[in-house]
């Protein structure tokens, strides 16, 4: 705020002479505006908004120097000298937009996100001010914390969005709720109206859901569907992702990667590339850490955790996986025998605890030479103590 005042002070000293002289002479609109513009971040598109139909005339009050510039410019017909009339001419009504941008910002500071969004719709200049306002970052962080930085995985990450856009997107996400059911549908709900917006139909029981932005991935039977939740259209489908049901699904925070866990104890990683008509899906990797169905998955780059009914959790660093298996995943992974659900038993109690990490719970580490990834396995009785 200081800087505005200081400039104002300097301005006023310059303008003192103007004002004192202006009683008899008149100030050129352009010159006057220039002085102000040089100092203030005034809304330029408003100052030259001369509206003949609007009966604005020269504002006599010197105090409204900052917002009288509009009046002065628009009255190109009647260039009257600034006089010291105390009464405002009845048709002149200074608008809030005549205030310097810094002061409008100050006012907008008092509003909350929704109100700020509404103010954006009022006029173009307010839109600019409201959208670039620094409070959007604060609003975002207050609600969701600092956003996760883009990761190497996200080669398709778009250019930095404005804080307001980030907030609006996230806000949309937080307004919609998804539910999946054995009635073979996924329903999209609106938090405010508590109404079902869309119904997404599948061909089998829905086991798992993973929304991201305006899309939602759902698993049904052994298939994986990806939907656009606004329009309710199917973007793509991965058929028979697993042998048996695909129980769980997880996504990366950018939505480009999708992980599925199935009845066969396997975990697949897919890359999703959206394009205008749909999406291209390619399988990036597979690993089979479990001997039982994988019921849940959680992903936070670079760690993927899976839990299975074999009583184990497995923790995988996907970077290593990507580094070694990029583009050639299928050939390097173990093939799953489609005829039998039971995959080869990999994780047994006789794992050699070679390098025990200090500070960890007693879990054993084993290297998986075949896939060159690091797996941490905890046994069932330890889990219950956690």
């Amino acid at each position: 705020m200081e800087f505005v005042c200081q400039e104002g002070t300097e301005d006023s000293k310059k303008l003192v002479s103007c004002v004192e002289n202006s009683c008899v002479e008149h100030i050129e609109p352009n010159q006057f505006n220039y002085k102000l513009k040089a100092k203030e971040t005034a809304l330029s598109n408003l100052t030259f908004d001369s509206k003949p139909e609007n009966e604005r005339s020269v504002k006599p009050k010197p105090v409204s120097k900052f917002h009288s510039k509009k009046a002065i410019v628009s009255s190109n017909k009647s260039k009257q000298p600034l006089s010291d009339d105390d009464d405002a001419l009845p048709n002149f009504r200074p608008s809030i937009t005549d205030l310097p941008a810094a002061l409008i910002s100050e006012i907008l500071n008092c509003l909350d996100p929704k109100e700020l969004g509404i103010v954006s719709c009022v006029s173009e200049s307010l839109h600019r001010l409201a959208s670039e306002h620094h409070v959007w970052k604060e609003f975002y962080c207050e609600r969701w914390g600092l956003p996760i930085a883009p990761t190497p995985l996200d080669s398709g990450f778009s250019n930095e969005k404005s804080w307001k856009e980030l907030y609006a997107e996230r806000e949309f996400r937080s307004n919609t709720m998804y539910s999946g059911s054995w009635d073979m549908t996924v329903r999209v709900w609106d938090r405010f109206s508590m109404k079902c917006l869309t119904v997404l139909r599948h061909s089998d029981w829905v086991w798992g859901l993973a929304p991201h932005d305006t899309t939602v991935a759902s698993t049904s039977g052994s298939d994986v569907y990806i939907w656009d939740s606004i329009s309710g259209t199917l973007i793509t489908i991965i058929c028979s992702a697993h042998v048996g049901n695909t129980y769980s699904v997880a996504r990366s925070h950018t939505g480009n990667y999708l992980f599925t866990g199935g009845e066969d104890g396997a975990i697949h990683m897919f890359k999703i590339a959206r394009h205008c008509t749909g999406a291209a899906v390619s399988q990036v990797s597979t690993w089979i850490p479990h001997s039982g169905p994988v019921h849940s998955l959680a992903f936070e780059f670079p760690w993927l955790v899976s839990a299975s009914s074999d009583g184990k959790l497995s923790l995988i660093d996907v970077r290593k996986l990507l580094g070694t298996c990029k583009g050639k995943s299928i050939s390097r992974t173990k093939h799953v025998d489609k005829n039998g659900v039971e995959p080869p038993q990999r994780m047994q109690a006789d794992l050699c605890p070679k390098k025990k990490k200090a500070g960890c719970l007693p879990i054993s580490k084993s290297w998986n030479e075949a896939e060159n990834s690091l797996l941490l396995v905890a046994s069932r009785h330890l889990l219950s103590g956690v």
Binding site: N45, K51, F66, I107, C110
Partner: protein, 179 residues
């Protein structure tokens, strides 16, 4: 610091232990207001002028008319008094605190027409009186709350400079704000 006032008056209604020096403030339309220096110093701008020793005769305030200046002085007086009576606080700029008894007075103070309100904002900004600026800005913000864009336009006489297409687009962009 040199004594900057032409008339050093010992005030009869001394409420403070401080020196009740007076300063004269001159509005843009030539009216002079004599106030206690301490009251005038609620304005950081005036405070700097006084401290810099530039306030020899009167302090000219060409950006503020007499009508507005008298209101601003009223505000400063009231807040200075309240600050003096209550426990010494670091700053008297707590006009929006709910525990502050001034809140009611402030609410009445800002019940003015829009012109005056904006003039007060400009004056508070120019004179650097944080409490008054916060109060007036908040008042304007409150006038925006709960309104649709069209209502805001009408309240503040803002021209809608969007084309219908642009307006629809912006509306869509901010759809989440309307829910």
């Amino acid at each position: 610091m040199a004594s900057s006032s032409t008339s050093v008056v010992v005030s009869n209604k001394e409420k403070e232990n401080k020196n009740t020096k007076k300063v004269t403030l001159k509005s843009s339309d030539g009216e002079s207001f004599e106030v206690d220096e301490s009251v005038a110093m609620e304005s950081q701008t005036i405070k700097h002028i006084i401290e810099d020793g530039c306030a020899n005769n009167e302090i000219p305030l060409p950006n503020v008319t007499s009508g507005i200046l008298s209101r601003v002085i009223e505000y400063c007086k009231k807040h200075k008094e309240a600050a003096g009576e209550s426990e010494p606080s670091v700053t008297s700029y707590t006009s929006n605190s709910t525990t502050n008894p001034l809140t009611e007075w402030d609410t009445e103070f800002v019940k003015v027409d829009q012109n005056t309100l904006f003039d007060l904002i400009l004056a508070a900004n120019y004179l650097d009186i944080k409490g008054l600026l916060d109060l007036t800005c908040k008042t304007v913000a409150d006038m925006m709350k709960g309104k649709t864009p069209q209502e805001i336009r009408e309240t503040f006489h803002i021209k809608n400079d969007y084309t219908p297409e642009e307006e629809a687009e912006v509306r869509k962009e901010n759809q989440w704000a309307f829910e």
